[in-house]
């Protein structure tokens, strides 16, 4: 404790400055000094700085056990002007993009947003100066850790990835787009940190829009037609969400007379809130739905998969899409006990089920990961809507474990893609023979998404328990969880389908900057899962309890039933570990003899692996495909009606404002 004492003296503002500005500064260096070694060095150092800053924040929060907050003096600068200028500059950039790419959609939505922002600026004069204020509670700490630590790991992984990526595209060092790429990535990390530690909604909004723009730039990074189209779609959808956010700000300013999130949470909320305040909350939910790619806005995230894999890993699974759910979790006490909250749970639950269903029919690995991401975000939103301490604890745990596992899976996918030049899981058949190490990591990543004793499952248990009071949501969680099992199991099955005989594969060589990030996240996913209960009882539970202390009548701890905790987990882990390790370690259980598959006695070896003799003594090589049930779960059959249902649920959210 004594050692940590000096930490407490570090001003939150200093930390905030490091978290927000240092990545951007490093990014500028990367952009300006264009040599290979400086890029590697600077990105790695930026990663370390961010990681250390995040760990410091964590340590301070852990020691002090209270939220950190600080505000810059209001008189120090014309803050409102600065933030308004920032907003307008971003909008100008979006308008320029719209004109350049001739996108009427983006232009129109941006114009609407411009109108709302201008209205806010003109009418919001009575509110206090927008001095940057920092509020770091446990939720922020979790987000900062995810953004800074996992984000840094992914950025480092991006170094060899982008090099190979450009080599494939035939771009030489001189024409490399990498400086711009890493600049955007690093600026994004800073903005994301800013988003989760700011207390003033106007600043949150500013950072929100920065991430939108970064996302656009990174999706269209390869500059193909498809990349441009998908990037523009992401842009207009997110800008539309921005409109919702801006409207919420206007409403809060006019009716609550404050933009501070903490002040808002302390004003009459929930059942006591006035109609415009509830409407503002519904607008925020709308914004969150676009950012977190919930149905019917999920198409932008699917399209975003054209971006290079580090982008998908960082923005489109681990961090940026979490901004939406973060916002909802932040405001959860505000809509506690309202109909709005229930509708939110149903809407989130619907996306959870619908996208898990659609994922079953996919063969494109990144698309499966995208659907699964949307699905998990839906689950987190459903938890937020359930709005009980236990549900929120589940949501926080899902944030952590999903970021770890999905970051890992995307990175592993990227490595595989460069190894086999495909992202189709059919082409990954028998990958265990070709890239055993990556396959092992991938399988651990997949299993960590759905099986005990991994953390995602424990969070799901908690979510189901919390949902019992809302039967419809519960049904969705149960069915969604079941569907999830299907596509992960099928994918893992393809990875493991090995040619008999080829049982002693050579372990492939991985670039050290692939290997280290992958191993770090694998170890992280496993270690956090093993420590899930201490994590829950020591960290998440106190935080959530504190959180709901704001809400009258919602007090009470995280009642994750003692049943789950009482399970003799040590015994479970012990038996499972023995079961996995025994066949590997004990030589006696190794096969005496390795034989090929049964093929009615007609099996032969062909140049393409195993095969069989067919009519007229023809030899034929065996090829096996997974079954994806396209006829039943195909996207083109279901996306339309699912989107309509989801849209009507969003309309229902606004409708429920009226009935409370």
């Amino acid at each position: 404790m004594g050692l940590l004492e000096p930490l407490l003296k570090i001003s939150p503002l200093t930390l905030a400055a490091v978290l927000v500005f240092s990545p951007a500064l490093f990014g500028v260096v990367v952009f300006a000094v264009r040599t290979k070694w400086s890029r590697k060095g600077v990105v790695t150092v930026a990663g370390w700085v961010l990681t250390l800053a995040a760990i410091t924040v964590f340590a301070i929060a852990f020691v002090s056990r209270t939220a950190l907050s600080a505000t810059l003096p209001a008189k120090a600068a014309p803050w409102s002007m600065i933030v308004a200028g920032g907003d307008l500059a971003l909008l100008a950039a979006i308008l320029v993009i719209a004109v350049r790419f001739r996108s009427a959609m983006v232009f129109g939505v941006a114009l609407v947003q411009l109108a709302v922002v201008l209205y806010a600026e003109l009418t919001g004069g009575h509110a206090a100066e927008a001095a940057p204020s920092v509020f770091i509670d446990w939720l922020s700490v979790v987000m900062v850790m995810i953004v800074s630590v996992i984000g840094s790991i992914i950025a480092v992984y991006g170094l060899p990835y982008m090099k190979e990526h450009e080599r494939h595209l035939g771009i030489d060092e001189a024409g490399s787009h990498r400086p711009g790429f890493f600049l955007t990535m690093l600026v994004f990390l800073g903005a994301m940190n800013g988003l989760v530690i700011s207390d003033d909604l106007r600043w949150v909004f500013f950072f929100w829009e920065v991430t939108t723009l970064c996302s656009f730039l990174l999706i269209r990074h390869d500059g193909t037609d498809l990349a441009n189209t998908n990037a523009l779609r992401a842009l207009w959808m997110n800008t539309l969400g921005g409109v919702g956010f801006a409207v919420a700000i206007v409403l809060f300013g006019a009716h609550a007379h404050t933009y501070s999130v903490q002040a808002l949470l302390r004003s009459p909320m929930g059942a006591a809130a006035s109609l415009p305040i509830l409407a503002a909350l519904a607008c925020l939910m709308f914004a969150a739905f676009t950012k977190s790619a919930q149905m019917p806005f999920h198409s932008w995230l699917l399209g975003a998969m054209v971006a290079p894999t580090p982008v998908s890993a960082l923005l489109h699974s681990s961090t940026m899409v979490k901004a939406g759910v973060y916002l909802l979790m932040r405001f959860a006490p505000a809509f506690h006990g309202t109909q709005l909250s229930n509708v939110l749970a149903i809407a989130g639950g619907f996306t959870f089920v619908a996208t898990a269903f659609l994922a079953i029919g996919q063969t494109n690995a990144k698309k499966i990961l995208a659907y699964s991401t949307i699905s998990n975000l839906g689950l987190i939103i459903a938890c937020t809507g359930l709005n009980r301490p236990l549900a929120l604890a589940a949501a926080v745990m899902l944030l952590i474990f999903h970021a770890l596992s999905k970051g890992l899976l995307f990175m592993a996918c990227g490595v595989v893609e460069h190894g086999i030049h495909s992202r189709d899981i059919e082409d990954m058949q028998g990958l265990v023979n070709r890239m055993p190490l990556t396959t092992l990591i991938m399988v651990i990543g997949i299993l960590s998404m759905l099986l005990p004793p991994f953390g995602v499952l424990i969070a799901k248990l908690a979510a189901i328990e919390a949902s019992v009071h809302l039967p419809l949501a519960m049904g969705m969680l149960v069915i969604g969880s079941t569907l999830t099992v299907a596509f992960w199991t099928k994918w893992t099955g393809r990875l493991l389908a090995s040619e008999p005989g080829a049982v002693h594969p050579k372990i492939e060589h991985l670039h050290v900057m692939y290997f280290v990030p992958l191993v770090l996240l694998t170890v992280g996913a496993v270690a956090f899962s093993l420590a899930v209960f201490p994590l829950l009882t020591e960290l998440v539970e106190p935080a959530v309890t504190q959180y709901y202390a704001l809400v009258p009548g919602a007090a009470g701890g995280v009642d994750l039933s003692t049943d789950v905790l009482a399970v003799p987990w040590l015994l479970v882990f012990g038996v499972m570990a023995t079961a996995v390790l025994a066949p590997v370690l004990v030589a006696r259980t190794r096969p005496d003899e390795e034989v090929g598959a049964y093929m009615c006695g007609e099996q032969i070896e062909t140049p393409n692996g195993s095969g069989f003799i067919t009519v007229a003594e023809q030899s034929c090589s065996l090829s096996i495909r997974g079954h994806y049930f396209e006829r039943y779960v195909g996207e083109d059959r279901h996306t339309l009606w699912m989107s309509l249902v989801a849209a009507s649920l969003i309309a229902g959210m606004f409708g429920s404002v009226a009935v409370r």
Binding site: G430, V432, L450, L451, P452, L461, I464, E465, V468, P471, M474, G475, V478, I479, S481, T482, L483, V485, A486, T489, K490, T492, G493, R494, L496, A497, S498, E499, P500, V503, D559, S561, D563, V564, A566, V567, P568, L571, V572, V575, M576, A579, V580, A582, P583, V584, T589, R590, P591, E593, E594, V595, A597, Y598, M599, S610, L622, I624, G626, H627
Partner: protein
């Protein structure tokens, strides 16, 4: 605490014997239904011992891991049930075992075991919601997911959750690969896709799978005993009646398609579950 562990240990040790006898009974009854004499009652033990003594032949090492985790998950689930632990956790541990077996089937590039595994995924999809709904039903009644809290109820579950006796019987038929649900492999030596998901497991690995089946049978029957925990004799009679129903169903019905099975369980099965849950919500005391 110690007593709990000892009971669990006793159950784990006794289960294979009990399961073996029940499985033998199943084969005898099936034979009689087909007007045959059938094998000796202890036939399953002969089969397992023989399989253990065969030479170890495998397509890859992962098969070994998959069957050992499958067995471990069955043993653990049974122990957790006896110890009165969280039922939801139990279900997921059970699912872990099944998924590992499916992956074991997938791990060989063999047409039969691949197709068997594909179908087993659908079987898993078909019964998993029914199991979870059952556990949710107990939660509505007791305010807890633990089996111990069911032991504490005064009224037998079968009276408040009658529809779930039916769904549990269906789940049992599906998990034991009985007709009309034996799409991924067959419990008896009927040949569907050769031996479906089991095709590529041989000798000792197959023995481990058979042993796990004995545990699975006891566990499934244990679930049904739970429905009449107030009087164990009635509970056991109920469980045996359900088992008999499954055997008769197996012998009087033909194998159906995966699509039919999925449609049937998700429509009829889930409707039964939903109706019972709705009744529980309407009448049952939801604590807290």
């Amino acid at each position: 605490m110690m007593a709990e562990y000892l009971t669990a240990l006793a159950a784990v040790l006794a289960a294979p014997f009990l399961g073996g006898i029940l499985m033998g009974l199943d084969r005898v009854v099936s034979a009689r239904l087909q007007s045959r004499q059938g094998p000796p009652l202890v036939q399953p033990f002969y089969d397992i011992l023989k399989l253990f003594a065969k030479r170890r032949m495998a397509a890859n090492t992962f098969q070994m891991i998959s069957v050992s985790v499958y067995l471990a998950s069955m043993v653990l689930s049974l122990a957790l049930l006896v110890m009165g632990q969280d039922l939801l956790v139990l279900l997921f541990i059970l699912a872990l075992g099944n998924i590992m077996l499916i992956l074991g089937g997938f791990s060989v590039k063999s047409p039969y075991s691949q197709l068997g595994s594909q179908r087993e995924v659908i079987v898993l999809l078909a019964y998993e919601p029914l199991l979870v709904c059952m556990v949710v039903g107990t939660y509505i009644l007791t305010g807890s997911f633990s089996a111990a809290s069911v032991f504490g109820l005064e009224r037998p579950l079968a009276l408040s959750m009658p529809a779930f006796v039916i769904t549990q019987t269906l789940v049992m038929a599906m998990k034991l690969h009985k007709s009309p649900f034996d799409v991924s492999a067959s419990h008896h030596a009927h040949q569907e896709l050769v031996r479906g998901i089991y095709t590529e497991f041989s000798g000792p690995q197959m023995a481990v799978i058979e042993l796990a089946h004995l545990y699975e049978l006891v566990l499934l029957l244990g679930f049904i005993v739970l429905f009449w925990h107030t009087n164990l004799v009635v509970g056991i009679v109920l469980a045996l009646a359900c088992h008999a129903a499954v055997i008769v169903l197996d012998n009087v019905s033909a194998r159906m398609t995966t699509r039919w099975m999925f449609g049937f369980t998700w429509s009829v099965g889930l409707a039964l579950a939903a109706a019972n849950l709705a009744a529980l919500y309407a009448t049952g005391p939801l604590p807290r």
